[in-house]
């Protein structure tokens, strides 16, 4: 049997899915967390059934890609678990009635029942069951209350015989609510006060600025702390001796030792030696991982508290300057961690124009944490000047490219229209689980690419393969960008992983100005292959080619201008 979890966005479908199947999926406190479906299995009295976590939808007449996926999946399902938000019965029942009209067999889970009680909403579940003539079960996905009852109810699922006039849906719902819902007025809580202050511009914008600055500072502070006090000591005291023994064993095999340990004189330098077991592991684990960890911890706090949609509202006017609206801040913020989930999140956007601009700006001006981590290391050693120039340049490029695209890309840019969830207290287990999942994902994705990249770098340089390309590209690099022609290789490997590419800049012994230009060009010129392949699927080949063309042109223009400007001052 195929069981689908269908419901409005942000009602707890993914948490329920995780409880029922044990399969980890990301859940967060904002609508549009799941943009793709996930399959898992659960057994009901000994029989195995497939359960599918579906992207949330408000209606069965889709308005964006994520909703399309949900409606498409409905055809696959044998029965549905309709997850209802008990704190928002009216809107939830609207979808329920649509399921009823389509004669889809379902049971209803009245989730967030705990929160409904807290806010003073009392629901007569038995009466609702009587009216709709389907099983309704109050649940709290976080604690698991009601979940086993929900599973048992799946043994017998009915089609509701509730009859109503579709034109008069809201009235019908209103009448049902009259009978089953009782609302007790409660005093304003602290979270409600916060809700008001954080969205009023007078207080909201200062709060946003403070949060962003705190976020930036704490990510740097925590990550540098981990690198200095945990990863470096671990590499030096545990890994270096292992490598020492291994290299003694491989003394006779020069080629293999060079590949594994790279090149170094007497002391091992993890950053510049460029061996598989040295730089290939040190960059992703020693440097990038601490940043990935602290970024995702802070992102999880923002996601689970419910602050992100407020950021979207506050940033809306700014984002309009680039022809997109506030909701696009979500792909952008996710992209600061890794561009791949950022690119996937463009599915919550409605029109082609919006998606195209968001994806292009994401690739051009949003450096992922891996790239940022390396830039902090590389440029940070010169103080704040280099970092400041790189990041300011990217912000300016974001605005200029966005503005040009706004006026040139065909199509419409719709306006923000989104639900703003209540604030919820992030809970420790949820946060740690999410951070752990994303770290696992990072390690699985990053390390193979990294090792392959290091291998490729060694092969390219050992056989002098790049010589031809370097020669051709040298006028561009030397005259326009002010970089040595060897930087060609850096950009080629940057296609695999940008953090690796920054690592390759170190042995080139560049000056600060050259490092700045190289960093900016590296950020802009092309997304990494992982992001590229996702974007091809999301945008289609034609639009992706256009997008890539924009990236390359922007990279060359910005690099050239920056080089000139930096040489003047």
């Amino acid at each position: 049997m195929n069981i689908l979890l269908i419901g409005n966005p942000n009602v707890g479908k993914s948490v329920i899915f995780n409880r029922l199947t044990g399969v980890d999926v990301i859940s967060s406190n904002y609508p549009g967390t799941s943009v793709d479906y996930t399959r898992g299995f659960l057994s009901i009295s000994g029989k195995r059934h497939q359960l599918i976590d579906v992207p949330g939808t408000y209606t069965l007449e889709p308005t964006c890609k994520a909703e399309e996926i949900a409606v498409e999946l409905l055809k696959e399902g044998d029965v549905v678990i309709n997850v209802i938000d008990a704190t928002n019965l009216e809107r939830s029942l609207n979808l329920t009635l649509q399921l009823i009209k389509q004669k889809i067999p379902f049971v209803a889970a009245l989730n967030l029942f705990d929160e409904a009680e807290h806010t003073g909403i009392f629901i007569d579940v038995e009466k609702l069951e009587c009216i709709l003539n389907v099983t309704c079960i109050p649940t709290c996905a976080l604690t698991g209350v009601g979940i086993s009852k929900l599973v048992n109810s799946l043994e017998e699922v009915k089609v509701s015989d509730f009859d109503f006039d579709n034109e008069d849906r809201w009235n019908t719902i209103g009448n049902i609510l009259q009978e089953i819902q009782h609302i007790k007025h409660k005093h304003h809580t602290f979270l409600e006060a916060l809700r008001d202050y954080s969205i009023k511009p007078v207080t909201g914008i200062p709060i946003l600025l403070i949060i962003l600055v705190l976020m930036f500072l704490s990510i740097r502070f925590v990550s540098e702390g981990i690198i200095e006090h945990i990863s470096n000591p671990l590499f030096n005291s545990l890994w270096t001796p292992v490598l020492g023994k291994l290299s003694a064993l491989l003394q006779n095999n020069e080629l293999l030792s060079k590949l594994l340990f790279g090149e170094f004189n007497t002391v091992l330098n993890y950053e510049t030696s460029f061996g598989l077991l040295t730089t290939g592991l040190y960059i992703p684990i020693g440097i990038v991982l601490p940043y990935v960890f602290s970024f995702y911890t802070i992102l999880a706090l923002m996601e689970d508290s419910g602050y992100l949609p407020r950021v979207a509202v506050m940033m809306d006017t700014t984002m309009h300057k680039a022809g997109i609206h506030g909701l696009s801040i979500i792909p952008m913020l996710l992209g600061l961690g890794c561009n791949v989930p950022g690119a996937l999140a463009t599915r919550i956007l409605e029109t082609r124009k919006e998606k195209f601009i968001t994806a292009t700006l994401l690739s051009i001006a949003i450096p992922c944490m891996a790239l940022q981590a390396m830039l902090f290391g590389l440029l940070g050693s010169y103080g704040y000047k280099g970092l400041l120039i790189v990041f300011t340049t990217l912000v300016i490029v974001w605005f200029i490219v966005g503005n040009i695209l706004k006026h040139t890309v065909k199509g419409t840019s719709p306006e923000i229209f989104m639900e703003i969830p209540p604030y919820r207290l992030p809970y420790f287990k949820g946060i740690t689980k999410k951070v752990f999942m994303r770290i696992k994902w990072f390690i699985k994705e990053a390390i193979p690419f990294m090792l392959f990249g290091v291998l490729l770098a060694n092969v390219l340089y050992a056989f002098n393969i790049l010589h031809g390309i370097e020669k051709v590209a040298s006028p561009l690099f030397v005259h326009c960008l002010g970089l040595p022609k060897e930087a060609v290789g850096v950009l080629i490997l940057g296609l695999l992983r940008k953090d690796l590419a920054v690592g390759m800049l170190i042995p080139l012994q560049l000056e600060l100005n050259q490092l700045i230009v190289a960093s900016v060009v590296l950020a802009i010129y092309f997304p990494c292959v992982a992001t590229f392949s996702v974007l091809i699927k999301e945008l289609g080949i034609r639009d992706m080619l256009k997008s890539v063309l924009i990236m390359l042109i922007t990279a060359i223009l910005v690099g050239t201008i920056l080089n000139q400007v930096l040489n003047l001052i």
Binding site: E61, T63, N88, E90, N94, M314, D316, P421
Partner: protein
């Protein structure tokens, strides 16, 4: 008194009277339970051309200024 949603003041309450938009807009508003006859309260306004946030029942919805100009509200 009727007002355009984008001209409502903070904390003002009213009932949606008319939505001056195409089918698509109506459908989208409908899916978020913004239908004619629904009571709403204005929670906040960003800058002049920024989005408004309205409270309806137990939730809040952010509405872009262009859309907000198409919604006519019977203000209490």
């Amino acid at each position: 008194m009727t007002k355009i949603l984008s001209e409502m003041q903070r904390a003002e309450k009213g009932i949606i009277k008319q939505i001056r938009g195409g089918k698509e807009l109506l459908a989208r508003m409908d899916s978020l339970s913004l239908y004619i006859g629904k009571e709403i309260e204005l929670v906040s306004k960003q800058s002049k051309r920024g989005p408004v946030v309205v409270k309806l029942g137990n939730t809040q919805v952010a509405i872009g200024s262009g859309i907000a100009q198409k919604i006519i509200v019977d203000v209490k």
